[in-house]
């Protein structure tokens, strides 16, 4: 990584729309980025259950890792719950640990 990240600190919460990029290839990047919102907060999903694979799968990308918060925009509380749910689902072979 060559320091192109335009996200600020604070756990990389995803800065709201106007992130002006100062990097060398700033031209290619879009000026506006929509603020990321936590899916579970906005959809009011209280119960993140390990049995609900349809809910979890979007947060387990191809390599079967847990999608980081800075990308998904999930809030800390829900990311924590999501993580336990994914780990439980993995034990039961509902979700893979890795892919080849």
């Amino acid at each position: 990584m060559n320091g192109r990240k335009s996200f600020g600190g604070g756990g990389g919460r995803g800065k709201s729309s106007t992130t002006q990029d100062k990097g060398k290839d700033g031209q290619r990047r879009p000026m506006f980025r929509r603020r990321k919102v936590c899916k579970f907060c906005s959809d009011k999903i209280d119960d993140i259950n390990y049995k609900d694979i349809k809910l979890l799968m979007p947060f387990v990308p191809e390599r079967a890792k847990v999608l980081p918060r800075r990308i998904s925009g999930t809030c800390a509380l829900h990311q924590r719950k999501l993580r336990t749910a994914i780990m439980r689902a993995r034990q039961l072979a509902l979700i893979p640990y890795t892919t080849e």
């Binding site: 990240k5 009011k44 390990y50 039961l92 072979a93």
Partner: protein, 151 residues
Amino acid sequence: MSRKYELVYVVSPDATDNQVADLHTQVEAIIQRLGGQLEKTDNWGRRKLAYDIGRHKEGTYVLEVINGGGELMKEIDRRLKVTDLVIRHLTVRVDEEQGVVDRTRARRTEISRRRRTARGLTPDRQPGEGQRGEPDDDRDDRFEMGGEEHR
């Protein structure tokens, strides 16, 4: 004091339906013997496993919701561990978590009702009322991830 547990176990694909049923009655017997209650049972049927367990690629999933104490779960756990037919099992205590979920949900509806009455509306949302954000607002940027960092 009774607690609520969820037990999921994966039965080997070689097992016949009878054997699966048999296993269920065994679990039920333990619950009965140690003074618990079987609240709900659910057979998910045969599913593909996300990864191979031993030489198996498939398994039959069974879910049981049990009211009972820790000793009971310990016994079930021990029994399932020695049963060869069961290739994987997981017990999770759910009562506390469920309580938290119910409380947040109750609080949320209560707050929304209060706000709505303060605005002079009916406490509950009528069907077809209110549009949440722009229609396409929450749809697109949730999962098209990765773009920013790894390009």
